[in-house]
Amino acid sequence: MAVPILRQGEYLIATVQSAMTDTEALRLRDDLVRQVGQYRARGIIVDLTALDLMDSFAARSLRTIAHMTRLRGADTVVVGVQPEVAFAMVQLGLTFEDVYTALDLEEGLRFLDARTGKD
């Protein structure tokens, strides 16, 4: 099942479900990179609230999304990483240092508004 991507103004909001396969992660990457141009999006939120774990493949896909969309002129912010997911990620060695993160959707929108000069 493809990750649903919602358009809200200049932003794209992708809501990842609990059981994301590698194929779906790659498709999300391709969809977002394409839609940034298609909809002239300036910001992307990837909402991981429902995601029950993050392994190295999913993390690499998200980093690639952040880097590729940046090159297309849109900032990506990852939101909703759950406490146990964050704990396991750190043990695994995934720190996401070069990816913007925010607590939840609301904070993510606030972050993008600040980045794009909306407030």
Partner: protein, 135 residues
């Protein structure tokens, strides 16, 4: 020493990685592991299952509850008949990879679990045994 299972999940496609980690999480939660412990077990299974996919193409993950010295643990045995690992010591170092990954799979899974061992023979295959005390 085995007291339940093992539950066997064949690994041959990326959906099988998801199935294996969900089965691992389900068993861990049923056995009373905390949410953090269950997530750590599921994440380690995801890494090891992907290693099977990337390096051997197919294999199997067996998940069971074992009791060792009176303590319960979730045990995961990942086996494949792939090319085997040339240098296990290097494969256990962060950032070392002969495949497309980040090189975090084996060492990362090792950090997530309490017991971790790799047995590999060139041309024969690889077996990873990992356990986490639980609860």
């Amino acid at each position: 020493m085995a007291t339940e299972g093992p539950l066997r999940v064949p690994i041959a496609a990326d959906v099988d990685i998801v199935t294996a980690r969900q089965e691992g999480r389900d068993l861990a939660e049923r056995m009373g592991c905390s949410s953090i412990e269950s997530t750590m077990i599921a994440t380690a299974i995801s890494e090891i299952a992907r290693n099977i996919m990337n390096h051997a193409g197919q294999g199997e993950i067996a998940i069971s509850l074992v009791t060792i010295d009176g303590r319960n643990a979730i045990e995961v045995v990942a086996s494949d008949e792939g090319p085997g690992i040339v240098d296990i010591e290097r494969a256990m170092q962060d950032g070392y990879s002969t495949g497309p990954g980040l090189g975090l799979g084996l060492p990362g899974a090792g950090r997530l679990m309490d017991h971790f061992e790799v047995r590999s023979e060139l041309g024969v295959g690889t077996i990873v045994v990992m356990r986490k005390w639980c609860p």
